[in-house]
């Protein structure tokens, strides 16, 4: 395979770049070792920063954030819930901070309005009433899954070739120049070489690993952050604790749930970050300072991500939250004397578009073409969801009834048909039709891929019901063999279990027992016929 540009890594940065280059008309291939969102871009807090969090310590990041916040609300609207956000000050926290913070926000151009404390208390009754100041900022919630799919969909529409489950295993060099990459299909194990005029390395926390394939050192400071997911929206708006940034001081509403985070713990490897019990308890205790009854609310899951922080000083300088959140574009020709390779490191999800634009600028300069970035003015699109086409004729009176039950009656030339679009996952209102539509986007996807595209199994019961229902429905519709469906069922249940395991207390402990009763005892999951495959 040959292309002008090969992008390694399908997170927000890589897919953002694919979208940017596709709009500039540049021939692009992107490879991603897992599904889109395998990395940090879905294992994050979901906050479209206003920049407020960085205003005091990291004004460059803050400025980038507010700029991109406004741009993305325009071009990525379907992926963003423009909730607005609050910075609330507890009377026990540093009394001088709000003053410094407001000044810093003014300087960086972040619009801040002080509002009566009662206003936020009315909106978010769960908050600690001992708040003495409240400021409104343009924070918002951004759906990482949806963003990645919008980027992938839009880039593909413009001709970009995107491949999931394809991992770069080595870089090919010729005459002091990187000319291609050897890739491995993660399912079949098949290898191939992709030749490119330029390779852009956007593997997030794996950046050092990929650069090492070209014999180059890139200093990364890997920093794990853990998050707790609450069963429902404790707040309709983002809540930030107004103090020098620390652990567990942000709550973000994400769809039907809310996410509290985060922590900051140095780690060695970007693979399989897991939250520790200690971190979670520490977060709950801190969170209670902001939400006094936090322990009464149900935690359904916990997860962790790894921040891809760039550390040019390679461990000689600062750590964790002290490292700047701005990004760096490493042109290895200039930096290391190796042509044909560029790395993008650091940054935030909020600034992915800006990172892509700047990288795109470098790419066109290197390729010697004169196209400028259009991502700031071109809205992203998402595929339209078509209803599933399982029709059943209806006798007698037919009428359009419930969208939630997924049963809709459709009249067509004198005959009424009932559209069987049943709810598969009640917690997140995912219908069979949604599953089929997602499957059309990822034809060789497994149930976890469909989950990322539909929110299947992401609600209260964490897949207790929808896992077997979806496996059965897809098997019944002839899309999967029984063995394949069994394997996918095992994978999905395992994956859900992974996030439930760290939070086995209260209601979720009962849920877990229930889940085990269904899958271990009723369905004997471990022994389902998987056609020889082992999970």
């Amino acid at each position: 395979m040959e292309t002008e540009v090969l992008i390694i890594g399908g997170g927000a940065t890589g897919l953002g770049l694919a979208w940017d280059l596709a709009l500039r008309g540049i021939n692009t291939v992107l490879i991603e070792q897992g599904d889109f969102g395998h990395g940090t871009s879905t294992r994050f807090h979901g906050l479209l920063h206003s920049g407020g969090r960085y205003a005091v310590k990291d004004p460059v990041s803050a400025q980038e954030c507010i700029q991109e916040n406004m741009t993305l609300k325009r071009v990525a609207a379907p992926c963003i819930e423009d909730t607005g956000g609050w910075f609330v000050h507890l009377s026990t926290d540093d009394p001088d901070y709000p003053g410094r913070w407001v000044t810093a926000c003014r300087k960086t151009g972040i619009p801040v309005q002080e509002r009566p404390v009662q206003e936020v208390l009315d909106l978010v009754p769960a908050l600690n009433p001992a708040i003495d100041q409240a400021f409104f900022v343009p924070d918002a919630a951004i759906n990482g899954f949806r963003l990645l799919h919008a980027l992938a969909y839009s880039a593909r529409q413009r001709g970009a070739r995107l491949m999931t489950y394809t991992r770069a295993v080595s870089l090919v060099q010729k005459g002091g120049r990187v000319v291609g990459a050897v890739t491995e299909d993660q399912r079949s194990g098949q290898r191939q070489e992709i030749r490119a005029s330029l390779i852009v390395n956007t593997p997030g926390p794996w950046a050092a690993e990929v650069a090492a394939m070209a014999g180059i050192r890139v200093g990364m400071r890997l920093d794990k952050g853990s998050l707790l997911i609450f069963n429902h929206r404790l707040s309709g708006q983002v809540i930030n604790r107004l103090r020098s940034p620390g652990d567990a001081d942000i709550l973000v509403p994400a769809g039907t749930v809310s996410i509290l985070g985060t922590t900051s713990v140095p780690v060695e490897s970007p693979d399989n970050p897991t939250p520790s019990a200690g971190e979670l308890l520490h977060m709950l205790a801190l969170g209670e300072e902001l939400f006094p009854h936090l322990h009464d609310y149900r935690v359904i899951r916990a997860f962790a991500g790894v921040r891809p922080l760039y550390d040019p000083a390679e461990g000689q300088g600062s750590a964790g939250r002290e490292v700047s959140r701005t990004f760096s574009l490493l042109d290895h020709a200039v930096r290391d004397g190796l042509e044909g390779l560029v790395s993008v490191v650091g940054g935030k999800l909020t600034t992915f578009r800006l990172m892509a634009e700047k990288t795109g600028d470098l790419v066109v300069q290197k390729l010697g073409v004169g196209a400028s970035s259009k991502t700031a003015i071109t809205p992203l699109s998402l595929p339209e969801r078509r209803p599933v086409s399982v029709f059943m004729p209806v006798r007698g009176r037919g009428d359009i009834k419930s969208q939630a039950s997924g049963m809709r009656d459709v009249k067509e030339s004198n005959q009424t048909y009932r559209l069987l679009d049943n709810v598969i996952c009640e917690c997140e209102a995912v219908t069979l039709g949604d599953l089929h539509a997602a499957l059309a986007e990822a034809p060789d996807g497994d149930l976890n891929d469909l989950r990322r595209r539909t929110r299947l199994g992401m609600g209260t019961c964490q897949g207790s019901f929808c896992s077997f229902r979806s496996a059965a429905a897809l098997c019944q519709s002839g899309k999967f063999s029984v063995e394949r469906a069994n394997v996918m069922l095992q994978q999905l249940v395992q994956e859900r279990w992974k996030g439930v395991r760290p939070v086995l207390w209260g209601e979720q402990l009962r849920e877990a027992e229930f889940m085990q009763a269904i899958y271990k005892r009723l369905l004997n999951l471990a022994r389902l016929d998987a056609g020889g495959e082992r999970v």
Partner: protein, 409 residues
Amino acid sequence: MVGNALDQCLKCTICNTACPVAGVDPSFPGPKYAGPELGRLIRGPEPPADNVLDYCSNCRSCELACPSGVPITSLIRANKAAAYRHKRMPLANRLFARVDQLGRVAAVAAPLSNAVARAWWAQPVLARLGISTGRPLPAYHRQTFRAWFSRRPVRPAPKRIAYFVGCYANYNDPDVAKATVAVLEHNGYQVLVPEQRCCGLPALANGDEDQARKNAVFNLGQFLPLVEQGYEIVTACPSCALTLKRDYPELLDNPEAAELSRHVWELGEFLRRLAEEGELQSDFGKVPGRLAYHLPCHTRSQGMGEPWTDVLGQVPGLKVEALDAGCCGLSGTYGFKAGHYETSMAVGQRVFEAVNSVRPDAVVTECGTCAMQINHGTGVKVVHPAILLREAYSRRWPRGGEDAIRASE
């Protein structure tokens, strides 16, 4: 409160298997979805735009079945109220939310209003209002119970009851209320009927929480001072009892409502307690008859067994067989709405079949709307147990039945 209720649900789906509506209408995704799930979804960014909430008849069977104690029906109603904050409430809901006002108007115009409701030319109008034309509407009486009672001399007695009449007995079946008074007086109680409004359940069930709250505040203001003077509150309507006991504390969320709820008795429950304490007048005359008893959902969900079965069991000659066939399907104002008629009749089918196989002299049930539905579905006469008791007491005195007879003059 609602927040924590959302967190209790295990998604076990047991409630769905208990829901009479979901059992007959596959378009209704069931209580689990309409209650705890929709509660989360409507707080989210993309609240589903559907009308599943209108399917719930508010029978509370799901709550009884839930092993996790989720107040499912309350959640459904809260979801309904939240939904109507954003869209216009259907006309029929608004009408039925105000059954007492409806009653006042209809009673003044009775029997004309009854004739109108039955007239062929009124049917399209009813249909436009969203009211089912498939079943007869309850008849209204020109003299409401409360008007009758206010003209009656006070009968002093040492023990006191504040009687919560309820709209149905007041407007549509005053004889039930008269029998209630007779039975209580015969047991040595002075009955007081304070100023009162509809308990508010129809408003709640139709998604009009504000109206329900207004009624609750009014009734609380009337009844709580009496409780403080030592009165107990009795009602012969299981739905009113349930509302005063369960919904007022939830709606008003104050200690006064909680205090009130501790003194509310459904009539059968009250009489059974008297019987247990050996204080129920047992001078029953013989009432020969084979009756079939239908347990209303709203009695069942008060978690107090079947008090009327226990009380009626004391009446000599009376054979009472339990139908044990679940929900009748009418559920207050639910089955009167267009589009619910078929569902309501389908739900009631099991009850109708049970009645038809028992072939009783009459059906007995303490709920006025269950009575209408069973009569509509089977043609069999349905009586309120208070009327039977009054009858039993009066038969002890062949010459006039003294108190009992006088009470119902």
